[in-house]
């Protein structure tokens, strides 16, 4: 996977912790440990809400990647600003679903 470790909180409250939670769901860290830290720092409801959104994107990412859905017109310019940073221009989904 091309995505790097990220940079601090990205201007988001507890952003670094949330990023570590995402990574842990992909097996990049101990999920139980990170979940416990999210619960103690942000609360159980925030933990569940974060994992709710992550699960939703496991669905959406598969729908998009498996149908070649192109990026929406209103997202073309904002995406240009971050695609390089994320390594997203190297994704197969970039090649097969241009936008």
């Amino acid at each position: 996977m091309a995505t790097g470790p990220g940079h601090g909180d990205c201007g988001v409250d507890n952003g670094e912790l949330v990023a570590r939670l995402i990574d842990a769901t992909f097996g990049r860290a101990d999920l139980d440990e990170v979940k416990a830290e999210v619960s103690s720092t942000m609360g159980d409801a925030a933990l569940v809400d974060c994992l709710t959104v992550i699960a939703g994107f496991h669905m959406a990412n598969r729908l998009v990647n498996a149908t070649g859905a192109p990026i929406d017109p209103f997202m073309v310019e904002p995406t240009k600003a971050v695609a390089d940073m994320l390594g997203a221009n190297e994704f197969l989904s970039r090649v097969d679903a241009p936008g």
Binding site: M1, A2, T3, C10, G11, V12, D13, G15, V18, A19, I22, D23, F26, L31, K35, M42, G43, D44, A45, A46, L47, V48, D49, C50, L51, T52, V53, I54, A55, G56, F57, H58, M59, A60, N61, R62, L63, V64, N65, A66, T67, G68, A69, P70, I71, D72, T79, V82, A83, L86, G87, A88, F91, L92, S93, R94, V95, D96, A97, G99
Partner: protein
Amino acid sequence: MVTQTSIYETELPIRAAVLEGHAALLEHWASPGTWWSASERLAIVNEVRTAWDADQLPPWVGPSTVDGLVADDHVLPAAVVDIIWRITNHTSTLTRDWYDSFVPDQVSAEQYVEVLSLVSMANMVDRFADSLSMDRLALPEPRAGEPSRYRPDGVEIARHWVPTAPLEDTHWSPDMPMEAPNVRRTLNLVPAEAAILWILIDAHYIAGGILSELDSGRNWSIERPHFELLATRTSALNECFY
């Protein structure tokens, strides 16, 4: 009848919309579909679990080509099993050529879209349950009945590999419908699947897919920037450019 209070054994504060959506999904899975029977639909969901829990194959190796991995009397065609495994375990490797290797020679576009719907939604609820250390949803018994074979008017290959129809989104303002995002169009070749998709996107993200400041604070314990971080990083790790 599946009830939302019975689907997960947990004290965790899961939002009502999520429980309602997952309960509706169970009913949906166990009902005859548009192109697949209820038994076949539940077999597709089960195959997602088999694929996820199996030792990983390289993306280019379909499980139907490995001796002993897929039962000879499997209820699903071998091509469908291969599609399920690839979408489940190697979503970052899906290409137009891969799609064309199955559609339309081995499955119709309509059959493919319904399979994709079931696979994507099963991955969503299973990843949700797994990450919260809950048992995965118990599958109901299949209901009798034949697939409806309903084919909507006005579909065409436009932006996606699969045929889609123009679609307006009135979530944001019923008086000012806007063009729906491409992710919400992915399944509208099979309208019954598109309908449950909208329910699930609304439950797991934001109604209408619009990043409204108001909506992010209304029912959730996290704020709009958290949604964007969660969406961006999860999509990046799944290598989804969209």
